[in-house]
Each structure stands twice: as C-alpha cells, then as structure tokens.
Amino acid sequence: MRIEPAYAVRRVAFAAATLLAAIIMNFLLPRLIAGNPAEMIASQTALGSAEVADAIKKQFGLENDSLLYQFKQYIVQLAHGNLGISYFNYPTPVAGVLLHALPWTLGIVLVSTLVSYSAGWLIGIRGALKPGTWFDNVALAVSFFINSVPYFWIGILLILLFGYKLDWFPMGQAFAVDYDTLSAAGKLRSIAYHAILPTVSLAIASLASHILVLRNNLSRALTEDYMVLARAKGLSARRRTYQYGVRNAFLPAFTGFMLTLGHVVGGAITMEIVFSYPGIGMLTYNAILNHDYPLIQGAFLMIAVSIITVNLLADLIYPFIDPRVNLS
C-alpha cells in the first residue's frame, strides 16, 4: 500500500509530456491554420493603442519571424503566467479572467463526476448481478438513450421541467442577484442552490457511460476462472461478488473514469452556456462570440492543465487501489 518512486516519476513525466503537447498545440495550431493569427494576440485594432500592441508583440517575440524564437518567448511568458491580454475585457490579462472562472467549472465538474460515478457504479453492479431483469433492461435502455443525446439538451430539458414548470430551482446563474448583501452562510447556500441543477444535469449526462462500463466489466469478471475457484473453495456468495467480482471490475473502470473526465469537461462547456453559469465554458462561448483569440487559447490551456492535474492525482491514487500498477 504505497507508491513506488519509479511509478510516481513515470506518471509525473507523462503528465509533463502531456502538458508540453498541449502547449505546443496551443502555440502551433493557430499559426498553422490562419497564417499568423498570433499577431492577433497583439493586434493593434484590438488593443487600441499602438504602444501597448508593440509592447505585447515584443513580449511574445512577434517582431521576430522565427517560430523557434516565438516559441521560446511564448514559454517564457507562460512561465510568468502571462497568457496575453483579453480583447474584450481589456486591459485585464487573460490569466486573471480565467482564474476567476475556473473554480465554478471545477466545482460542478468534480462534484457531478463523483455523483455520476457512484450512481453508475451502483446501477451497473445491480444490472450485472441480475442481467435480464426489468431493472437491468431499463438501466441499459436509459443509458443508450442518454449516450445518444447532446449533454446540453438534457440541461435544457431539466431547466424546462424543474426551473420553469415546477420552479424548484433557479433557471440559471451561479448565485442570487442579492448575493453581495447575504451573510457568509447565505452566500454558500445561494451558490449550492444554484449549482444543483447544472451539477445534476452533468451527472445524468455522464451517468450512462459509467453504467455501461461497470456493468460490462462486472459481467466479465463474474465469468472468470477465479470466480469458479472461489465458489469451489466454499466462499460465501456475498464475499465472491464483492471482494472478487466487484473489486476486479472496479479497476479497469478507474482508468475509464479518468478518460471520461475530458468528455465531461467538454460537456460542461455547453452545459454552462445553457445555465449561464460563469465558468470556463461560458467564458469560451463569449470569447468565440467576441473573437477574443487570446482568451480562447487561454481557456484551452486552462482546461488542459486542469485535466492533466486531475489525471495525475488519479494516477497517484491508483496504486493504493491496485498495488499491481507499481510493477508495470
């Protein structure tokens, strides 16, 4: 029950390589697609003043045509947390705008992931243990249905039902209009109250794949030879199911969990728009509308960094769940 240093080093190196890949993509893609839209980072028209534009051009090495030089400058600026200036929120730096929005997205994404993962686990296990029952069939049908509709559509439907028709939850925003006048506890309550519907929407939208993966894994684990052996040894059904079956079904699902995180974040982008929730997704949407290129790129990088970090954390927790990974 401990982490092998070699394993930890490997995972950290992998995370670093992923980060580098994300940075290179972020640097290269705009330059490859549209000539040199990196200029846009310092576009004069966007920033209003020629002096400011020149200063930023210099910061990002745009006065030099060499890509390598520009990349070096880009990395240097990145290391200082400088992602450029947002056009639309001028003169606020992109990094500041993003850091302001990040907690909202992380909050609903992480909570909804935990909720949907545990719910999917319970439903998937029950389905795999009693395949072919009405419960299993309904769970499967609902899962396939959810997997076949856009994330944001589920959000819109829930707002229509629980926000508009039943008026149980607010129809959008992250806190009440009178937020500033509330006490600390009141603020917290307001935030939680507003977060329920977006979080539940995201959880439902991502529930399906968890159910399918866990059901599939457990069905397979139940047919393994060691299950027969466990039965021959005379272990109780309960012990066989949970300590031999579920335990082994859980392991590959944990890796799947990390892969779906990217999916959930992608879904959260559109979900935030539906709920006018002030996170990275809403920011990206407004940035697209305003052609705020530095902000679009910054948002991409922020999303990548968050996911890489969460993935690394999951990787480092993994040996405590399955000690075998230390060896591979």
Partner: protein, 285 residues
C-alpha cells in the same frame, strides 16, 4: 426443442438489423428529399411567432415565425451528413492507425501510441473549438473534417490492442508460413477478425460525431448558413424558448439525435449477433 432453438439463433440479430437499417434509410430519405418533405421552404418566416403545434404546423413555430418541423427536416441533412461522413473518416483513420501500430511493433508505432495516449487526455471538444474558431469559415466540409480528423484517437487505441492480441494467434503464424505478405495478413486475416470491434467503434464514433456537430453548432461555430439539429437548439436557447414554454422547439431536435443514434446502435448490435451466430458463440467482445 432443438430445432426451435436453432431457428431463433438463425434469426438472431436480423430484426435489429432490419429495424436499424429502416431508421437510417428513413433519415437518408429525409436528407435527400428534404425540400420535397418539408411543408414550408427553408428560412420561411411568414408565420406568427410561438405558435403551438397544430395541423398547419406539426411542431409549431419558433420566435422568428419559422415552421419548426420544416427546420427539423432541413436540419436532418446537415446532422446526417456530418454524422456519416465524419464517422467514416474517423473509422478509416482509426482502423489504419490501430492495425498498423498493432501489427508492426517498431519504435515508430510505440511513439505514435504514446502520442495518442497524450492527446487522449486533452478534451477533444476544446481542441475542436480552437480549430473551428481559427478557421476562416466553417462550412459543412470543414465541420466534417474537424470532427472526423480529431476523433480517431480512442478508436485507434482500442483497435491496436485488439490487433496485438490477434497477432499472437496461430492463424497469423500460419498465414505467414504460407508465404502471405504483411499487408495481406493484415487485410485478409486480421481485419476480418477485428470486425466486431471495428463495428462497435463505428457506432460510437458516428454517434459522437452527430453530438459533436450539435455541440459546435450550439457554441455558434458550426456552419452558420446551414440548419442542423444543434443550431435549432442553439436558437431555441438563445431566444428563451423555455420562458415561452415552447417544448415543441426544444424536444424534437434532441429526440432526432436519439433516434438516429438508436438506428446505429441497432445495426451495431444486430450485426454483432449475426457475426457471433455465423462464427460460433465463442467470439467474445
């Protein structure tokens, strides 16, 4: 008893295949004959706004006074084309990369898969947004290309791992001993055995492509001139359809994606059952 069992096994999957094909054929017909099937011309705004469904407007009208049913029919074209074509591009790349990387175990293929593993972590949706927002214009073609060219990572990985295990089997060795070239071993021996896994992936990437198109359109970076199920939802949301209780503007586009994907799932499951029946039940996915 024995005969009825054989009968039901012979028929297994046929019903699903038929139903799935009918659903897709239905969408194909709507795609091809959209202008004949839609009751009103595209972008016709001659009607009163916010009309509830009636005989004249099967799915009511939207805030602009457009017939929602006609929009849905025209939207089918974009969503169908993007789903099918982007799904095919993804499948071709995924199979190509997966099989070659699994078959030739050289450092190149290992490096390629390392890169795939790296990129898998970065959310594809975010990458698509970057690409789509920098492209000078997003037409139908660029939408298809952006989605098709970016979605193959997971598929390549799953095809590769299956290829790796197929490569160990006796029949590959036998084919080699018989003097088959690498390419024919891949195409004529390994590929047919990958059929179930390719099919399962095809179903899921096509579904993903339709949903990705809806997502991009919803973000306002799809093709602005084309109607799609995603743009209908984007407009409905932007014009506060919820406040007007205009469920007829909100519910149908989502159900359309569900039905379309359901058709693919049926075909996928149905032909897997056929495949298992023909090859014996031993084949496990």
């Amino acid at each position: 008893m024995a005969t009825t069992r054989t009968d039901s096994r012979q028929r297994s999957g046929r019903g699903k295949l038929l139903a799935g094909t009918l659903i897709l054929a239905f969408f194909a017909v709507v795609t091809l004959a959209a202008s004949q099937l839609a009751p009103y011309p595209k972008n016709d705004i001659d009607f009163e706004s916010w009309l509830a469904p009636s005989g004249a407007h099967l799915l009511g009208t939207d805030s602009y006074g457009q017939d929602v049913f006609s929009q849905l029919v025209y939207g089918t074209r974009t969503s169908f084309l993007v789903g099918i074509l982007a799904g095919l591009i993804t499948t071709v790349i995924g199979v190509l990369v997966g099989v070659t990387a699994g078959f030739y175990r050289r450092w190149v293929s290992d490096a390629l898969m390392f890169l795939v593993d790296l990129l898998l972590i970065i959310p594809i949706m975010a990458l698509m947004i970057i690409l789509a927002s920098y492209l000078p214009s997003m037409g139908l073609t660029s939408t298809i290309l952006v989605i098709g060219l970016l979605s193959w990572l997971y598929m390549a990985r799953s095809i590769r791992s299956q290829t790796l295990s197929e490569r160990q089997r006796g029949y590959v060795e036998a084919a080699r001993v018989a003097g088959m070239s690498n390419v024919s071993v891949m195409l004529r021996e390994i590929l047919p055995n990958l059929y179930p896994i390719i099919l399962a992936n095809l179903v899921s990437v096509t579904t993903q492509a339709v949903l990705a198109e809806a997502g991009l359109s919803f973000l306002g970076i799809g093709d602005p001139k084309n109607v799609s199920w995603g743009t209908i939802l984007a407009l409905a949301h932007a014009n506060n359809a919820i406040m007007y209780d205009a469920w007829w503007w909100i519910v149908p586009p989502g159900l359309a994606t569900a039905l379309f994907c359901f058709g693919f799932i049926l075909i996928g499951n149905g032909s897997l059952e056929r495949y298992r029946y023909k090859r014996g039940a031993a084949q496990q996915l």
